[in-house]
Amino acid sequence: MRKTIIHIIILSCRKATQLIEKKLHTRLSRRERVQLKWHNSICDICPLYEKQVIIIDKVLRDDLAKTPDEQVFPAVEVEALQARIIDSIKK
């Protein structure tokens, strides 16, 4: 019962996680910011969730900025692909 009231006034955890995701990518509206703040102040799980997805988000952003280690492929495979490409360019 208590939970239900909280959700009517504030947010469910399901909703809160959606706002947490949105917050990673864009600015929340004033109303959303207040809702999330209130929710996080009475919920112990969602703040933990938020901390962890921030880590994941950061790793993903960093990972994109960096060049992957160059893989080395067997020469025959590279040559086969090169031949296929050159063939398709001729057409």
């Binding site: 239900t4 990518h25 997805v53 993903l60 893989q71 590279v78 490409i85």
Partner: protein, 189 residues
């Protein structure tokens, strides 16, 4: 025009010799699928022939080819993510109960992020990528698009033909699943 075209295919043939391996390695990293990666590399060179007249000598050929390849990768994910939806019944939601509360078994556990090098840890990134690849293809694609493109959500939603709130929901679902998978494979050993 014809001689220009000839010129282009000659140059690009040299580029094929020089850059195929690097492009392939990049494409595999981004799409995690060898066959698809090869097709994307081939498409990249074909597009390079078509738009050779746009190539300006002031950038490196490899940089130019990589930017074409990146667009091909984005196109691929865009096709996969178009009209993406979330489909499950609320009572089957693995993370939240019918009130929208965390299900006990799905509650995040504290992570021991003791190492300050976690973000540089290759093993962690590997697990993260493995977890992402377990996502349903349209969700993975939506997530990749968000992180590959330096675009805001609004533009991506227009490309995909979905509403913004739908888009955040999908990214959130994808994140919930990836987070749980990372926790299981990295932190709980």
């Amino acid at each position: 025009m014809d001689s220009l075209h000839k010129d282009a295919s000659l140059t690009i043939k040299q580029w094929v010799e020089l850059h195929t391996e690097k492009l392939l390695s990049w494409a595999i990293y981004k799409v995690s699928d060898r066959e698809l990666a090869e097709d994307l590399v081939q498409d990249t060179f074909l597009a390079a022939v078509q738009s050779y007249h746009k190539f300006k000598g002031d950038s490196e050929p490899r940089t130019w080819l990589l930017s074409i390849l990146n667009n091909k990768i984005i196109d691929h994910y865009r096709k996969q993510a178009r009209n993406v939806t979330i489909s499950f019944k609320q009572d089957k939601d693995p993370f939240f109960d019918e009130h929208g509360e965390w299900r006990e078994e799905a509650e995040p556990q504290p992570w021991d992020v003791g190492s300050p090098h976690l973000l540089d840890d290759n093993e962690f990134i590997k697990i993260l990528r493995k977890c992402m690849n377990k996502l349903p293809m349209p969700w993975l694609s939506a997530m990749q698009l968000k992180y590959l493109q330096q675009k805001d959500g609004k533009e991506i939603c227009q490309d995909l033909g979905i509403t913004q709130s739908n888009f955040w929901q999908i990214l959130c679902r994808a994140k919930l699943q990836v987070r749980a998978c990372v926790e299981k494979n990295w932190f709980i050993k």
